[in-house]
């Protein structure tokens, strides 16, 4: 089993003068599923973006450890898979072209067999050569899961993972998470009860709103 750890050290985030959350300290270890909950505007997307190194915290630090070794942020993107409603793929390319370009730009070998497997799992194999401009929002959401998993990341961050998905799509997502829960570290930011039911531990951001924390 891979040993991947994310440590949040005194994380504070302000947008202008508005406090989003204050003084979050937490440790996430692989082999677990963690949930981040809170009402709309509580900072769920903000904290997962900070964990994925997409935005900086106002104060504090996020440390990613692969075993005992701290991962350099220049290489961090290869350890992370990310799914969110505000993530967009290149809609002038086909699903397959997107996946090939993502692998090549990441500098990893494109695993055709694994790509075909994931496309079949998410029921997109027959549409793999269609430009994704013509995909429905549910199909695009399923493709985002393939984008997040194609490079076999150790940390998978799911921000509202089941938005736009129908019942079979949601079931497939839960099945994939359950299948990989022992090998990867999952962090799920969501308001959906069914999403949060998967999590062993849930952080409620409402508990980190006090500036005196």
């Amino acid at each position: 089993m891979n040993n991947y750890t994310v440590i949040l050290n005194n994380l504070v985030k302000y947008f202008g003068r508005r406090l989003v959350f204050n003084n979050i300290n937490h440790r996430f270890d692989s082999g677990n599923i963690y949930g981040i909950a809170g009402p709309n505007g509580s900072g769920k997307s903000t904290i997962v973006k900070i964990i994925a190194n997409l935005i900086s915290p106002t104060k504090g630090k996020v440390v990613h450890l692969d075993g005992e070794k701290e991962i350099n942020y220049e290489r961090l993107h290869n350890y992370i898979g990310f799914v969110s409603p505000y993530l967009f793929l290149y809609d002038e390319f086909t699903a397959y072209e997107n996946l090939i370009y993502f692998s090549k730009i990441r500098g990893v070998k494109f695993n055709e067999a694994y790509a075909d497997f994931l496309l079949s799992e998410f029921n997109l194999y027959k549409r793999r050569d269609d430009v994704i401009r013509g995909y429905s929002s549910g199909m695009k959401q399923r493709l985002k899961f393939i984008f997040a998993l194609i490079h076999n990341p150790q940390l998978v961050i799911l921000d509202e993972p089941t938005s736009n998905l129908d019942a079979p799509g949601k079931e497939k997502v839960y099945e994939i998470i359950a299948k990989n829960r022992n090998e990867k570290l999952f962090i799920i930011a969501s308001n959906e009860e069914s999403d949060l039911e998967l999590c062993g531990e849930i952080i409620n951001l409402e508990n980190y709103k006090n500036s005196g924390n």
């Binding site: 997409l54 220049e74 290489r75 992370i80 793929l89 290149y90 002038e92 090549k104 730009i105 984008f147």
Partner: protein
Amino acid sequence: MKAYHLFKKDWESELRTRYALNALSMFILVTISVIMFSIGSEKITEYLTGGLLWVVIFFSAMSGLSRAFVSEEERGTTLTLHLIASPSTIFSGKLLYNLILVFLMNFAITFLFMILFESFIIKNLLLFLIAFLLGNVGIAVSSTIIAAIISKASSKGTLYPVLSFPILLPLILVLLELTKFAMDGNSVVESMTEILVLVSYDVIMTTASYLLFDFIWKE
């Protein structure tokens, strides 16, 4: 190689959408047509033609080169890029894309000037080629980092020329001088000071851009 694949993705995307290529081609054709109509049958001096060449190049760069980052921001794919590549790979890939675009654009503009303007006569072709090469690199590097800065702003259209003007002005002034020397037939050795200024500009802009890009790229 990662940067090359990012460039390839951008180039393939451009060939499918043709946004920058169409904008640049139309801008070049319209600008040169307007200059020709305004000149009419008047004879203009060699120096003025050389100046007009760099004016057209400067404004063409304004119209097309910002697309490298602005298109990612407009399509919402900036986050995707963050998740697949390191900042240095992204900057290198975008720079390569803008370099190819600048060279294509400037070859086309220079070729049109050569066939359309009688007074565009270069006596020292080697000196002009050196200036052309170093100038294109300078324009591409500056435009790429400015495009990265403005892609985060809300008023992208107005900010690009405003930011570009002070950054590209020293470069354009030296290029105007070197084009004048090439038209006069001055040797490369005689123009060494200006060439070294161009080399310095390119090195400083490239180094500063790589150092600054991390801060610009991450919100």
